[in-house]
């Protein structure tokens, strides 16, 4: 079975380490915050100027001056700090954020990512995604393996305008955990019950398949 949104978030959460500063994009990446392993401490960075993002507020604690990058009302955790957008992107471009998780329309085997623009449709903007992918040391892309028409999103070469070039090394899709190196996709894990054949069939780019592909550990 392909992973659910929650299971995708669970698998991505296995990339977290104690003491990590983490930037989570909008959508599935946001759900990763729900699966921080017991006993592990991470600080969430929100690029509008908050390090130490906490859970959503109650009606009593809601504050219009405290939002996340998705413009949702949030709270701040113990040890949180507020700062300007310039400081926020100094953290991001300066490589101070340990892990960045974001979605994508397409990723190719050179590590290029397209996530912000579909020509012919209205372009809303890239927000902070280009700054994030250009500089983060450790990026996980999480997305469905194929689009709604069944077409692969893991390509030889991206067809859409790029968000960043040569910057993606790890993908958690609903079918597989894949790393990119030496200009190829490498299959490392498969979703429980998903066959290697299905993953191969739904990967348009060059995919290196080892003899044994373990199943992901998700519940």
């Amino acid at each position: 079975m392909a992973l659910s949104r929650e299971q995708l978030a669970q698998r991505v959460a296995q990339e977290l380490q104690d003491g990590y500063y983490v930037n989570l994009g909008i959508g599935i990446p946001t759900l990763v915050a729900n699966y921080v392993p017991e006993g592990m401490e991470v600080m969430l960075q929100s690029e509008n100027g908050l390090l130490g993002m906490g859970e959503f507020p109650t009606e009593e604690t809601v504050d219009a001056d405290l939002i996340n990058a998705g413009k949702q009302t949030v709270t701040a955790t113990t040890g949180a700090s507020y700062f300007s957008s310039a400081d926020s992107f100094a953290m991001i471009r300066g490589g101070h954020v340990d892990l960045t998780v974001l979605g994508a329309f397409e990723v190719d085997q050179q590590g290029n990512i397209a996530s912000w623009m579909i020509p012919g449709k209205l372009v809303k903007g890239m927000g902070g995604a280009m700054d994030l992918v250009a500089s983060a040391r450790n990026i996980v892309v999480t997305m469905t393996h194929a689009n709604k028409k069944g077409e692969s999103k893991l390509l030889k070469e991206c067809t859409l305008p790029l968000t960043g070039a040569g910057c993606i090394k790890k993908i958690v899709s609903d079918l597989a955990y894949i790393e990119i190196r030496d200009g190829k996709f490498h299959l490392l894990e498969r979703a429980p019950g998903v066959s290697v054949e299905e993953i191969v069939a739904k990967t348009a780019g060059e995919l290196v398949v080892p003899e044994h592909v373990p199943e992901m550990n998700v519940s």
Binding site: A64, I67, K71, Q72, L122, A134, S135
Partner: protein, 232 residues
């Protein structure tokens, strides 16, 4: 106004000198930390042909969205503009031009503009449509593009507190682009929730020194929330 007293008491004084075709930098992230009264005054003044530099373009009927109603904005420089139907309509009809800019690059353009740095190299946008027509150069084995800084004829800023000398303190994530915007205006006007006497703010805790600020006005704020999200 005399000496270092930056306080003005009317929006007419606050925006004196603002005219058609100017470049106006506006602080805020979404609807958080926007100078609501100054935007409202821009609307009632009816200035047109504006180039607005702000992370977002407001929503229909609030924030910079108000200036779209009478087509006062000619060009928008922003990182994300997806919250606004009127914006979309004017963009598609060609009445409005947009220059989409990566968010960190936008912040740095303002910071550099205020700091006397005319341009800077950043890795953000290399290999993407943002790099079109821009100089690219390799530093330490990595490609970067040259981005020019921005100075506004006016910068409109929202702060939490100011003293009469224009020293500013921001509140929570309403800080966002406001400190950089404050440095990057030829005329910087700040709308605040509270003005206190000089000396009442602890110099240790001032976020933006008054040297960047020309005028301060006390506003009243609706603080509309774009995505009210509560704990389940």
């Amino acid at each position: 106004m005399s000496g270092f007293n930056k306080v003005v008491t009317s929006y007419d004084e606050a925006l004196e000198g603002l005219s058609d075709n100017m470049t106006v930098i506006v602080g805020g992230f979404g609807l958080c930390g926007i100078p609501e009264g100054l935007i409202g005054k821009m609307k009632s003044l009816g200035v047109t042909g504006l180039t607005c530099v702000s992370n977002n373009a407001g929503v229909d009927g609030f924030g910079l969205g108000l200036l779209l109603e009478d087509k006062q904005i000619k060009k928008m420089i922003a990182s994300y503009v997806g919250e606004n139907a009127l914006f979309e309509q004017q963009l598609l009809s060609g009445e409005l031009e947009v220059e989409l800019t990566p968010q960190g690059t936008l912040a740095e353009k303002m910071r550099a503009g205020g700091a006397g740095i005319p341009a800077f190299f950043t890795p953000a946008g290399y290999g993407t449509p943002v790099a079109d027509g821009k100089e690219a150069r390799e530093f330490d084995g990595k490609m970067h593009i040259l981005e020019s800084s921005i100075v506004g004829d006016f910068a409109l800023v929202k702060a939490w507190k100011s003293d009469t000398m224009g020293n500013l303190v921001f509140r929570k994530t309403a800080r966002n682009f406001n400190p950089m915007a404050a440095t990057a205006g030829k005329v910087t006007v700040v709308e605040v929730e509270e003005i206190v006497a000089a000396g009442e703010l602890d110099p240790n805790e001032i976020h933006t020194p008054g040297i960047y600020v020309n005028r301060v006005i006390k506003g009243s704020f609706e603080k509309r929330i774009e995505q009210l999200t509560l704990k389940k």
